[in-house]
Symmetry: C2
């Protein structure tokens, strides 16, 4: 029940402790996946007590989300730095998603964590919204203005945005299928193109 302290109000040593925890967790997650990232191990290797870990992250899911969020930051950074070059919106959108797919598949355990957090995380986080935003911004070609935290100009009720969201859903599901070993990347690419061509035609 402990409310997560807003990051701004943390002392330096608290910020560092938090960072240390997340990095330790990420390291454990990369090899071994979510199940290798056990709260006791994280606490021990990060050099904090179990209770402290729980003060910073009230549940394991919160910790997973924190790890995944960092991963997502990296992805967004990469996209903004080297935007996709296809010349139709649907092509650009598929581009982003495929790049994300390949990136994630380099650490399948983290991909698994991402998917699980998207589906399972209680309310709060909106990782999916971030991804949909990204897809939409890339598709409509408005990226330049400074990266992730500025989402003021996206109209989340527009038809286009809804369709970008739909494509994101499809992507997430395909990700699940890959993780289950039921698809390879090429199949996913084909399916994403098929869907994107219909969903994002006329933008």
């Amino acid at each position: 029940m402990a409310v997560q302290a807003p990051i701004g109000t943390m002392t330096r040593s608290q910020t560092q402790r938090r960072r240390r925890i997340v990095q330790t967790a990420a390291a454990l997650a990369v090899r071994g996946g979510v199940e290798a990232m056990q709260m006791r191990s994280v606490a021990e290797r990060a050099g904090v007590a179990l209770g402290t870990l729980y003060r910073y992250f009230p549940s394991k899911m919160d910790l997973v989300v924190a790890v995944v969020t960092e991963e997502l930051d990296l992805l967004e950074g990469g996209i903004v730095r080297r935007p996709p070059t296809a010349d139709d919106p649907s092509g650009r959108a598929v581009d982003v998603l495929l790049r994300a797919t390949r990136g994630l598949m380099r650490e399948p355990e983290l991909a698994d964590a991402l998917v699980r957090s998207l589906i399972m995380a209680e309310v709060k986080i909106e990782l999916d919204v971030r991804i949909s935003d990204l897809v939409w911004r890339v598709a409509t070609g408005n990226l330049g203005d400074g990266g992730s935290p500025d989402d003021t100009e996206v109209d989340r009720d527009s038809t286009g945005y809804v369709l970008a969201g739909a494509l994101t859903s499809v992507w997430i599901f395909e990700l699940v299928e890959i993780l289950k070993g039921r698809r390879d990347i090429d199949e996913v690419e084909g399916r994403l193109r098929t869907a994107a061509d219909r969903l994002l035609a006329s933008f």
Copy 2:
């Protein structure tokens, strides 16, 4: 690790025991959700030992899947008995999904279980394929021939089928959003129509 015995090779009393377990589990799940469906309680109320429960269902997830599968049978039955009447494929598909949504929302706890099994269940089960099949069969208007277990005539590589699958992904994700309290049914209906109109136009 124990391999699930094929149902055909079970003795009568084993079949009955299995049924008793699933029904008990379902009853517990309906009120209280997955977390109320605890392995010890299920075993106790079904009158079997914990070890026996685990012989029949090697993990809780397997039990959840069994329960959800029965639910899905019911849905399929309802659809076949009273097929949707809209006259375009996209309308019929949305019809099915909305009916499913409303049905599931009557037991949100089971809906939750369904979603989790779709995403999390290790390999094996293909609940999602069943749903995609259903959507596709409804959209193309070929339902009559005997319900679920006959899927011989569906070409799972056709573009149309892929698109039906995409729509199913969207639906599942919207289900998740409902369960998180971030959407109501009307919003979902709007979004499904928007997506379906694009995905299933021209069929």
